[in-house]
Symmetry: C2
Subunit: 390 residues, 2 copies
């Protein structure tokens, strides 16, 4: 086991009706609220009206920052920062999924950023920054942004999608009923995101971090059990609640306690897909993950023990031949994603080979994936992208 | 799944050598440190000297509050509060196990307590209190006090041992090497404490909290795997590190996410044993837990599903007959404690029946154990105590 340090200052309010605490949560931070949200699904579901009513009844002043994109863009960050400065905002309330919360984090930090170009903040090397307080109401179980300090922002002009650390939410309201209306497609993609985060933490060289490995396996099994239920019965509270609870823990840092970092290779590769093609993050991850697994297993059979453990403890498989067992676990994962309705090839998304070399080079900038679970070269990454075509 | 809210402001610094960060952790709080510790084992191991050297080199002023008892007493709390007030202490540094940290928490809150009688604070109904900042260096994997807000204080004059909420540590330094010198007896008792905390969270009526249940099972399995290694090889870093990492998570609240509270019946009963006989907390819990299990399984066979799950997922047992399987899991747990060297009967500790009725009445004060996993009457509790005799 390796050393670690860990803290999450965020307070989670989990369960139906927790929005009743919204005013009480916001009040210590001030009266002027920037309401950040996405493409308007919260207007269809009535959550927008509910939030506005509470804020109005409780005497808050609201400035709206709607229209935040999936794969949120630097322009939205710039717009939000401008609004905060113009209106002297006290606290940001993000209502939505990971994209909205990520963007709100970058806005919260951007208010205090001293440079002229906010993209420099996104692209810079820094830890948690000074930021406005941020509260969120989660509407999608996926990224775990409600319980970590990170955010991912895209700059489509230069085809870059970069993750960084900004600020932790002060509080996250996680009400599973808000995910009842999430489409099958987004429900499956969100769960793939949760599974991928957990893969990035599980597939590590450290063999003896029993707590972290057991928590990863619990997250996998919880996702595998509850996603099909949520797809069949979108308003099954128990299934939605289980998916929401693992969303937060998957990104909490606890599943990687004491483990050597994998380098998060699938996320590095997926960010290239989204930066070039603006695809759904979880879909890109679902397509990449089994191909990455097969590639590294072939490249370094010495890592098979991890895959054998995955096959046994996650999928309940057994068998004598280590390689066969390892591959069977990967097949199970791919079939699970496919049966969940996720398009499992890049061809289905209309993506061809044209940018693979540039994407591989950028994913591996500074040779960072040469330090991943199984080291990857640019050529490896191109091969993984190619394996995703069909 | 039930609603929950959750936050832990404590920062964990886990791993060997993390004491290098001690001065940096303390500095923001001030210069005057109350050093709280126990019976002097930290003097034998050299940790006391190491801490004093750091504090002296870095310009801190130290006031000592040593001699804190296992099952820490109200008199130690009173003494610590007096020292803090006399010397204008800025921050408390607790070096030790759960008893020392618990006592330090009560001291930290006691400094701001406005009444004359600190026992009234211990016995009162309150949440987290205003308190001096507290930092700890953990030397025993057991109570989880390094990662929660609670503490348990005893008043031997009136045979009472009461848990309450005081304050979270601002930071906990958890270096597994400090547990290399912990005796086999205390190592086993500490692990029994971890297992018992997890039982109190696992044995709940809520059937569908998959994350929490999976984390409980991971904690059980990690304890079962690593305790025998730590007993055989006291300086096995990996085993000691695994036990220390589950100590903190077991009491973090995460293993009970979304679950109906069990009412912590074994802790309520054990506090009576310690209050009357000053026995080691983890030993009392190890003796009580399997007897409590058998009693409630007999009283309410409708709870057998939980024990079947425990037998299968924790002990890897299987079988057709539910009751047999449930009992086999309990037998496994009892045998595990016995093989770890824990005296598994009250008779071995010289405890007889003389106070059972008074202890049962106090454990069940206000009928609180009538709301536990399987409701307990005073008569049930007496029967459980009696089953512990041999």
């Amino acid at each position: 086991m390796l050393n670690y340090s860990h803290t999450i200052p965020t307070k989670l309010y989990f369960g139906k009706g927790q929005i009743a605490k919204l005013a009480e949560i916001l009040r210590p931070f001030g009266r002027k609220v920037l309401l950040a949200y996405g493409g308007g699904s919260i207007k269809k579901t009535g959550l927008y009206d509910q939030v506005m009513d509470i804020l109005s009844d409780e005497g808050f002043t609201v400035v709206e920052c709607g229209g935040i994109e999936p794969n949120p863009r630097i322009e939205s960050v710039e717009r939000g920062v401008k609004l905060c400065k113009e209106h002297g905002i006290d606290v940001i309330l993000a209502v939505g999924g990971g994209s909205t919360i990520d963007c709100a984090k970058a806005i919260a930090a951007g208010v205090y950023y001293e440079g002229d170009d906010l993209w420099q903040m996104v692209a810079g090397r820094h830890g948690i920054l000074k930021a406005l307080p941020l509260v969120d109401i989660l509407t999608l179980s996926a990224t775990g942004s409600e319980y970590d300090g990170g955010g991912v922002i895209s700059n489509m002009k230069i085809n870059q999608k970069l993750g960084n650390s900004y600020t932790f939410p002060a509080a996250s309201i996680c009400d599973p009923t808000y995910t009842f209306t999430v489409s099958k497609y987004q429900t499956a993609a969100g769960t793939a995101d949760i599974i991928s985060h957990t893969c990035e933490e599980y597939f590590s060289r450290t063999p003896d971090s029993d707590l972290a490995d057991g928590i990863c396996e619990t997250i996998f099994r919880t996702a595998i059990k509850n996603l099909p239920i949520a797809l069949a019965e979108p308003d099954n509270y128990s299934a939605r609640a289980n998916l929401m609870s693992i969303s937060s823990i998957a990104c909490s840092g606890i599943p990687s306690y004491g483990k050597q970092s994998s380098g998060w290779p699938c996320h590095a590769m997926e960010h290239e897909l989204s930066a070039y093609y603006d695809i759904t993050h979880g879909v890109g991850l679902a397509i990449l993950t089994p191909r990455w697994m097969r590639h590294i297993l072939k490249k370094d059979p010495g890592c098979a023990w991890r895959f054998v453990r995955f096959a046994k403890n996650v999928w309940g498989l057994d068998g004598e031949d280590e390689t066969e067992l390892a591959l069977a676990g990967i097949d199970k994962l791919e079939a699970f994603f496919r049966e969940s309705g996720i398009p499992m090839t890049l061809s289905e998304l209309g993506i061809g080979t044209e940018h693979f070399e540039a994407m591989a080079a950028h994913a591996n900038l500074g040779g960072r994936l040469s330090r991943s679970f199984v080291p990857l070269t640019d050529a490896d990454i191109v091969e993984i992208f190619e394996a995703c075509l069909d």
